[in-house]
Symmetry: C2
């Protein structure tokens, strides 16, 4: 937080402009959100001309894609912390809550990761890879929950369903669709998980 604004550089060249831009972009993202982040603004704050940025990222979308890829990596990290219980419901719950907390703590980054600014399909390979990695971690969790192989159909479908649910609730919270004091977030996830199980139990 202190050495970050060593603005005046002695030399013409910089060296690690890639990471400087990426780090600053992450800050700007958190401050103004994904729709108002601008290449020129980020470049300015780093103390470099906007055109310099184009020597490190071929365009704005590529910069954003790198940011999003970083987000998926962090999400992976978060999903790897396992529950100390071996009860299926507890394992699932732990995963859901970890995911949910990540989204809540990085709302703008999360919006970017799943927002319209990023068309992952036609973006850099790193993004798709990072996203696939995160989905892999999710499958791993569901594999433990269901006690079936990670590449089985059951696990795949279960992972997709769980991802949908958790992404959905995180997304609704971030977009202020749900109004709860933030201290009771997790309780709501809990209640929803139970409510959902209630519904399905009854439907069986």
């Amino acid at each position: 937080m202190a050495n970050k604004s060593s603005r005046k550089r002695g030399s013409y060249h910089i060296g690690n402009l890639d990471t400087l831009l990426l780090d600053e972009a992450r800050l700007v993202l958190a401050e103004v959100g994904p729709t108002k982040l601008s290449l020129r603004g980020v470049s300015d704050r780093v103390g470099v001309s906007a055109t310099a940025t184009y020597h490190h990222f071929s365009n704005k979308n590529v910069l954003l894609a790198h940011l999003a890829a970083k987000g998926f990596h962090e999400l992976s990290q978060v999903l790897r912390k396992r529950s100390n219980s071996s009860e299926p419901y507890d394992i699932l719950r732990t995963g859901c809550i970890a995911y949910f907390k990540f989204a809540r703590q990085n709302p703008e980054l999360y919006q970017l990761m799943f927002g319209p600014e990023i068309q992952a399909e036609r973006s850099i390979a790193e993004l798709k890879a990072a996203r696939a990695e995160a989905f892999g971690d999710l499958r791993q969790i569901i594999s433990e929950v269901t006690n079936e192989p990670a590449d089985s159909k059951t696990v795949l479908d279960g992972a997709l369903a769980s991802w949908s649910f958790t992404h959905g609730i995180a997304s609704l919270f971030i977009h202020d669709v749900i109004h709860y004091p933030s201290s009771t977030d997790i309780k709501l996830v809990d209640k929803s998980l139970k409510a959902l199980s209630q519904i399905f139990l009854q439907g069986k």
Copy 2:
């Protein structure tokens, strides 16, 4: 499709510029997506100066908010078509699939409705009202599914959980996170619903 491009107007004034702009914006939205829609572009296509638009919508966000509100109204319509079965699982399934189909058929509108361009909380009242209406319809469905009053806690939590799930899966599809031939979409929703019930059954 024919009388829409009656561009050259005889008089200086127009009359129903509000709806003309809104309709054209909807088309542009479907063509270029929520991030690339521009006020100037829409005004141009209607055949009017960009400044004229400001006499009908105080800024771009208000225009987008009206579009999103329209989306929520249409979503409400769609959710009101009830299942002919009275089996709880069937009612839920019918609602989920109707919601899902709406999202798939209007991907850019759906992205707008839940995207970062719209901060519903600080936008026009119509938007919040339309969204609340749609959520009301969802609660109604869950009330039928669970056979409990629509304002009960069970129904509220269940509606939130179901909304999360359905919004989640729709959102993941729209953002190309899931790759399935579009003919098998619904099958996947089905399988996910079942997989989820599977998981919860096991966890109980």
